[in-house]
Structures are given as structure tokens and as C-alpha cells.
């Protein structure tokens, strides 16, 4: 499926005159970006003055809203109507002014004065007898009311100084510049609520060439101490050559940010709400301070490739004491230490997204993949207790303070429709170590509650990480497969004859008004493991050139109701009868 119809050209075609219910809007599918461009125009000042003068005149009869002058009836004097539509079948013995509404003249209508319509259209003027000038303007009159009178209130348009205009700055259809105030991530136990503040710009430098840049400070609000860690930053500058559909970008980034160790469990904003409401932060974090140079090739709106070179210092961070709504007397989970050091890495990634709807997809692919070739220097952290059972000790991989590793990550999702109501969603995700020294701790992985194996405990499969404070993820590799079947509840079916069209040729039907939540039945299977180092062995240690047997995968099944913004799910592991059924609340789709 090619999503050739993202944009639509909208043409208002008046099927029959006048009333709203008799008109239809024709939607013609068009190629992406082919939508008609809008230039917000304003009514000429002299026309606006005419309208205001006529409307406010003492002798004018003023009406508001839908107005009809039937045939054989009349209005004596000037008539002004605010809104509309106005249908004239009879006689207006003066001027007719319609503000921000349409006017329709029936056959036999008579207007003895001029007709002035702003913000609307005139229809049927040819079949009416109009003795004055007919003027109509599609641009509306902007006004405010003062008692029963109108006052002209033009839209204020920011006019940048001429020297700024010369360089393409300011705010118009091509350029955008402004101050960004937004969340920098999500609520978490290390930063609290990170807030972004700073300027950003998206400028058209030349035809098919744009320059995008931002420079924002990040204010970490967990506990304001004015320490250096309370403020971070994020800045980027990028040249983009090409169109919205096909482009190549070259840019650089500088940052001092807090990043999550794993991209799961949960979506980022779900993690934030769990932290803010229930004092449960399901992710771990570390600091990234450095810069990168990158190039992005966008082949289509659905496909892009990126290569990036990074040079950054990665540091451990302690959990702080941000506020939460419940369980405020509990301590936050320890934020585990990472393998601190200075890292240089090359990262190549691709992104394919052919989903028909990003929020609630029912067709298409979503595939991402990433390969990282990393090299750490001045590494001062350790690689976890598995490699350093006795203290003090130095892992052999870190004897020279250097660490070279290769890592991949992938996430492939397929959205299928089985029937008009039934949908099947599939996902295969995972990644981990593929070469070199052991992965630094901030690249390790785990599986468990609440996502992507909600039937099990939190990080139940973390390669012994749950024996340490903070339950760090310590596995080298993971793979997880998820499947869910969805169907609507609460159908409002149409009549049976709806599908049975007769021969009369012009039969109509309007079947089905579907509402209600999705019933979701799902199953997940996953495995997390390590590769052998220093002769280590165990059930979760599998040779680097092998995959774990399918029989060793952990599996859970469950059922849920998805109301859109919120979904409620019950899950049960298949291989551990002693584990209770778990309950999970998700915001939006599981994947």
C-alpha cells in the first residue's frame, strides 16, 4: 500500500443553492504536498470601512444569523445581516449588506440599492432585479462588537524589519522562528520534570534548501539545588536539501541530556505518568554530554537512513527525590551505575514506516534498525558483577581502560486487518551485543513487567541484575515476539438488507455505527541472555554464534480492553503457575 493520499484537495462545490445541508464538499485524493496553499488574506480597508459605515448607520435594519425574506414580503430601507446565510425572495428597498455570510437571490427578488457581501458568496444575482452595484469579497470582515455596532478589528500581522526579511527570517509560509517551551523528555526520578526553553528556527535559505536549528536549555526540576546537573542543553543545526518527500540532511548536535538505558519498558510518556502518579519509574538513566555529526537520507515520507558519528562522555547519575502523587513515603528505586567513560561511536540506522495511522494503525509496517560501532576510552566504570565477582578487581576487558563493542537493535511491527473489525498486530524486537568487548552497562538489556512481558515480574529476566540494588539490566541480548488480536466491542449493526442491493439502481444504505472499546487478546514470548565471557556458564549464557532454543522462551498470554487513551490488561505467564495474574494500565496501544 502506498499512502498516496495523505493530503487531500478540498473543493467546495455547491450542489444546490443555499442551505448548509444541501451542500457537499468534494474530497479529491492528491499526492502528498499537493494541497492548496493558503494565504490568509484580509479584506481591503476601504471595503471594510464601507461595511462598517453601512452596518452602523442609524437607519439600517440589523439582523443576525440565518435570514429569509420570502417572496411577496419586503424590508423597507437598508438591511444589514451579520452571519447568514441570507435568502432573498422578496424585496429590499434599500442597500443589502451581508457580513461573513452567503446570500442567495431567488427568482423575482428585488433590491433597490447596492449589494455588498464580505466573507461570503452571492448566488442567483442574475435572476434577481438589483438596481445598485453588486460587490462580493470572500475575505471576511474581522470585527468586534460595541453594543449593537461593529468596530473594525483587523488581524495583526507581525511585520519583521526589512533587513530581517532580506535574510528570510520572520514568520511566513516558508519560515518559522520562535521560542520553544516544551517537555524535554518525561517525568523521571533523576530529572523530575525536564523543561526545554530556547529559540528555534526553520528557515528557507533557497529553493529546496532549508536550515533548521534550535538551542534550548533543559531545566531539571527534581530538586532545585542550582548544581551543574540541574541544567542541561540541547542544540542542533541542520541543512536539509530537497522536498518534504525526498531530502538529504546534514547536521550537527550538541547535548547534555539524560537518556534512558533501555528504550523499553513502556512508552516514554507512560513511564512519566507511572513515576508522577505511583512513584514507579520503570527505566534507568545516564548522562550523555557531547556532540555528533550526522547525515540523513529520506527516500520517501516512509523511508529514511541516518549515519551519525558521536563523541560523548557518558556518566552515572543518582536518583533524586522528585515529588509523586502517591507512595510519597517510599524511596525511589536506585538508579544503577553505568560503565562511565568517554565514548566515540558510529551509528547507522534506518526507519521504515508505512502505517496507515500512527496512533491506531491497522495496516502497514513499522521497522527500525540500528547498528553501533562503539569505542570507549578512559572507562572508569565496571561491567557488572558477572564479570567482577570479587572486589576489588578489574575486568580483563577494561584492563587498559578501553572498550570496543558492536551492537544492533531492531524493532519490526506488522499491522494487519483480518476483517472489517478484526485486526492482528505482530512485533519482533530485540538486539544486543554482536562483537568486540562486552557491552557497557548502559547498552545492556532485560525483559519483564510491565512491558514487553507483562505476565512476569519487573526485570525478571535481567541476567542476575535483579540481585543488585536497582535491578539493573545486565543481559547482552534479547529478542521478544508479540502478537495481539483486536476487535471492536459495542457494535451498532445496520439492517441485514443493507448489503443486499436491489436492481433499482439508486438504493442507499448507511450501515454500522461502530463504537466502544477494543477487546484485545495477546501473547508475548521473549528471551534475554548473555554470551560467555571468561569461561562463564549458566542457563542464561548462550554461545555467541547460537540463539536460545525456542523451548526456553518465556511466554505469557493475556486479555485487555483498550478504550483508546487508556487500556487495561490482565496477563498470566504460561510456564510459571505460581505467578499471579498481573494487571497493567497502558496509555494508547501496547505497540
Amino acid at each position: 500500500m502506498t499512502k498516496a493520499a495523505i493530503a487531500a484537495l478540498v473543493v467546495l462545490s455547491v450542489a444546490r443553492a443555499a442551505w448548509a445541508q444541501d451542500t457537499t464538499i468534494t474530497i479529491r485524493p492528491a499526492a502528498h504536498g499537493a494541497a492548496e496553499r493558503l494565504a490568509r488574506r484580509q479584506l481591503p480597508r476601504d471595503v471594510a470601512d464601507d461595511v462598517i459605515r453601512l452596518f452602523n448607520a442609524e437607519s439600517t435594519i440589523r439582523l443576525t444569523g440565518s435570514t429569509r425574506i420570502p417572496a411577496g414580503r419586503g424590508v423597507d430601507g437598508d438591511l444589514a445581516v451579520l452571519g447568514g446565510p441570507v435568502v432573498v425572495g422578496g424585496r429590499v428597498s434599500g442597500a443589502l449588506v451581508v457580513v461573513n455570510g452567503d446570500v442567495v437571490f431567488d427568482s423575482g427578488a428585488v433590491v433597490d440599492g447596492p449589494v455588498l457581501v464580505v466573507g461570503g458568496t452571492v448566488q442567483g444575482a442574475g435572476q434577481a432585479s438589483i438596481h445598485g452595484e453588486v460587490r462580493s469579497y470572500s475575505d471576511p470582515l474581522r470585527y468586534r462588537r460595541q453594543g449593537d455596532q461593529l468596530v473594525y478589528a483587523p488581524e495583526r500581522v507581525f511585520q519583521p524589519p526589512r533587513w530581517i526579511e532580506q535574510y528570510g527570517w520572520g514568520e511566513d509560509q516558508a519560515n518559522h522562528a520562535g521560542i520553544l517551551l516544551a517537555l524535554a523528555g518525561t517525568y523521571n526520578r533523576v530529572e523530575g520534570l525536564p523543561i526545554l526553553l530556547g529559540p528555534r528556527a526553520d528557515l528557507r535559505v533557497a529553493d529546496q534548501l532549508r536550515f533548521q536549528a534550535d538551542a534550548t536549555a533543559i531545566f531539571r526540576t527534581s530538586d532545585i539545588s542550582f548544581a551543574s546537573n540541574d541544567i542541561g542543553y540541547r542544540a542542533h543545526a541542520e541543512f536539509v536539501l530537497g522536498s518534504a518527500n525526498r531530502s538529504i540532511g546534514l547536521g550537527l548536535r550538541g547535548y547534555d541530556i539524560v537518556a534512558p538505558v533501555e528504550s523499553w519498558p513502556l512508552k516514554e510518556f507512560e513511564v512519566g505518568w507511572a513515576s508522577f502518579l505511583f512513584h514507579r519509574d520503570y527505566r534507568d538513566y545516564y548522562q550523555r554530554h557531547g556532540g555528533s555529526l550526522y547525515a540523513t537520507l529520506q527516500l520517501s515520507p516512509a523511508v529514511s537512513f541516518t549515519v551519525e558519528g558521536r563523541d560523548e562522555r557518558e556518566s552515572s547519575l543518582d536518583a533524586r527525590t522528585p515529588w509523586s502523587l502517591f507512595r510519597t513515603d517510599e524511596a525511589w528505586r536506585v538508579n544503577p551505575a553505568i560503565t562511565d567513560g568517554k565514548y566515540r561511536s558510529a551509528v547507522a540506522s534506518f526507519h521504515i514506516d508505512t502505517r496507515n495511522d500512527r496512533g491506531t494503525p491497522s495496516a502497514g509496517w513499522f521497522v527500525t534498525g540500528e547498528y553501533e560501532l562503539g569505542h570507549g576510552g578512559n572507562v572508569t566504570g565496571d561491567l557488572g558483577p558477572f564479570y567482577c565477582a570479587a572486589s576489588p578487581c578489574i575486568d580483563s576487558a577494561l584492563a587498559d581502560g578501553k572498550l570496543g563493542y558492536e551492537r544492533i537493535a531492531f524493532d519490526a511491527r506488522r499491522y494487519l486487518r483480518l476483517s472489517p473489525t478484526g485486526r492482528l498486530n505482530l512485533r519482533l524486537a530485540g538486539g544486543g551485543w554482536v562483537g568486540g568487548d562486552p557491552l557497557p552497562l548502559q547498552r545492556r538489556l532485560s525483559l519483564g513487567y510491565p512491558d514487553p512481558l507483562p505476565g512476569y515480574g519487573f526485570r525478571q529476566f535481567s541476567c542476575n541484575g535483579n540481585e543488585l540494588a536497582g535491578d539493573p539490566a545486565l543481559c547482552d541480548r534479547t529478542v521478544v515476539a508479540q502478537a495481539e488480536f483486536r476487535t471492536h466491542l459495542g457494535f451498532d449493526f445496520g439492517p441485514k438488507w443493507a448489503s443486499d442491493w436491489g436492481d433499482s439502481g439508486d438504493e442507499h444504505y448507511e450501515p454500522f455505527h461502530v463504537s466502544g472499546p477494543d477487546l484485545v487478546v495477546f501473547a508475548d514470548a521473549g528471551r534475554a541472555w548473555s554470551v560467555p565471557r571468561n569461561g562463564s556458564a549458566g542457563p542464561d549464557i548462550i554461545p555467541a554464534d547460537k540463539l536460545p532454543a525456542l523451548s526456553t522462551f518465556r511466554t505469557d498470554v493475556g486479555v485487555g480492553l483498550d478504550f483508546g487513551p487508556l487500556g487495561f490488561y490482565l496477563a498470566k505467564p504460561l510456564d510459571q503457575a505460581n505467578l499471579a495474574v498481573t494487571f497493567t494500565v497502558r496509555m494508547g496501544r501496547r505497540f
Binding site: M1, A5, A7, A8, V10, A20, Q21, T24, I25, T26, I27, P29, G33, A35, R37, L38, G65, S66, G83, N100, P140, R142, R144, R145, A153, H176, A182, L183, A184, G185, T186, L196, D202, Q212, D214, A244, E268, W273, N356, D357, T360, S362, A363, L416, R417, L418, P420, L424, G494, S499, G505, Y509, E510, P511, F512, H513, V514, S515, M587, G588
Partner: protein, 222 residues
């Protein structure tokens, strides 16, 4: 309590709900928002373009409140044409379009902006509600080849209240600016931050509604 007093008390107690029920009957409840697709064939049995119609979108007062409190409301329409298959149905093509309604605090007028840039002004809520109920004739027809193939249409309408920053993005997109509105590529703000903002808006009590309608399967050919 004697029997007469008991009967009187029972009558008084039962009279309350009756009176309230009469009140409710007199004040008819507003109709819920409704989305429908209408299909028809011409006299030669050729399939006409489907007609999509959304009615009573502002009548239940939920989105009226959002508008009057300064929030804009976005109506995101999508019509999909699916081809029925043995195992997995196939999405042949889809069309999306938008409308945004906001209340101009200066003029007290409702401004309705549609994809393509059309801007309409209405003085009253009833008028903008009526404008939103205009039907859409969507020129999205199945290919004429393969007369035995069965298809169906699926339409969705998502109604959300927008914060100011999101409104800016949508307006730029409606004006024909490059890039999709409110998406992971919609700006420099990350998609997740946008998602969190939207969720905050939803949880703060501002309304969000998703309507879906679909047709039965039909043959494309005559």
C-alpha cells in the same frame, strides 16, 4: 404512622421522580456525535463515490465547552478503501483531511479552517455545527478491473482539543506547509513530548472522541 400518611408519603416520594422524568422528556437530550458512510449506485449500477457525514458533533456540549474555554478543536477525517482477501485484507488507498474550529475571542466568531485553506466564519455555534455536518463526497473508488473483488470502506473521525502550540502546527499544515501535523516529524519537539502534552490535555478533562464507521463489503463491478 397511619395508613393515610403512609400512602401520602409514598405518593410524595414517587412524585419526585415522575416530575423529574417529565422534565427530562420535555428537554430532549442532545443527539450523540455520529459518523456515517453512504454508498449508492447509479442507474447503470456503477458505484458512486462514497459520501461521508458527521453529525451532531458539537451538540452534546462537550466540545462547546472546550471551544468557549479557548481551546481549538480539530476534526481529523480518514476514509480507507479495503480490499477483502482470504486471510489479510488489503488497504488499497486512504484519504485524510482536517478541519479546525476555534473561537475568535476578539470577534466572538467561530472560525472553521479546512484542509486546503478554506476559512469560514460563523456567528453562532449552531451555524458552525451545521457547517461541520456538511457531507463529504470522497472520490475514492475501487479499481474497475476485477469485478469479482469485494471491497469495503472504513471511516474514522478523531476529534481532539488542541493546545496552542499544537494548533500552530496544524494551522501551518492546513495552510499547505510541508510536513505532517502533530506527528513524530512535526517539529523539533520529540514525538514523545508531543504525546505527553496531548495526554496531559486529555487527562486534564479536555475532550477527545474517536468515531468509526464502515460499510458492508461490496463488489466494485457493475
Amino acid at each position: 404512622m397511619n395508613r393515610a400518611a403512609g400512602v401520602l408519603l409514598a405518593l410524595l416520594v414517587s412524585a419526585g421522580p415522575v416530575a423529574r422524568a417529565q422534565e427530562v422528556r420535555e428537554r430532549a437530550p442532545p443527539l450523540p456525535p455520529h459518523l456515517s458512510i453512504t454508498l449508492s449506485r447509479d442507474t447503470a449500477q456503477g458505484l458512486r463515490p462514497p459520501v461521508l457525514r458527521a453529525e451532531h458533533l458539537l451538540e452534546d456540549g462537550v466540545f462547546q465547552g472546550a471551544l468557549q474555554n479557548g481551546f481549538s478543536v480539530r476534526f481529523h477525517f480518514r476514509l480507507e478503501l479495503w480490499r477483502k482477501a482470504t486471510l489479510f485484507d488489503h488497504l488499497e488507498r486512504d484519504v485524510e483531511w482536517d478541519a479546525v474550529v476555534r473561537l475568535d475571542p476578539l470577534t466572538g466568531e467561530f472560525e472553521l479552517i479546512r484542509t486546503g485553506g478554506a476559512v469560514e466564519h460563523y456567528a453562532a455555534m449552531e451555524a458552525v455545527s451545521s457547517a461541520l455536518a456538511k457531507s463529504f463526497t470522497v472520490e475514492l473508488l475501487p479499481p474497475t478491473a476485477g469485478a469479482d473483488t469485494r471491497y469495503y470502506y472504513l471511516a474514522t473521525l478523531e476529534i481532539v482539543s488542541l493546545s496552542q502550540s499544537e494548533l500552530d502546527e496544524v494551522e501551518r499544515w492546513l495552510r499547505g506547509d510541508v510536513g505532517p501535523a502533530i506527528s513524530s516529524h512535526g517539529g523539533l519537539t520529540s514525538a514523545l513530548a508531543v504525546g505527553a502534552r496531548r495526554l496531559l490535555i486529555r487527562l486534564s478533562g479536555l475532550p477527545h472522541l474517536r468515531l468509526e464507521a464502515r460499510t458492508a463489503t461490496f463488489l466494485a463491478g457493475r
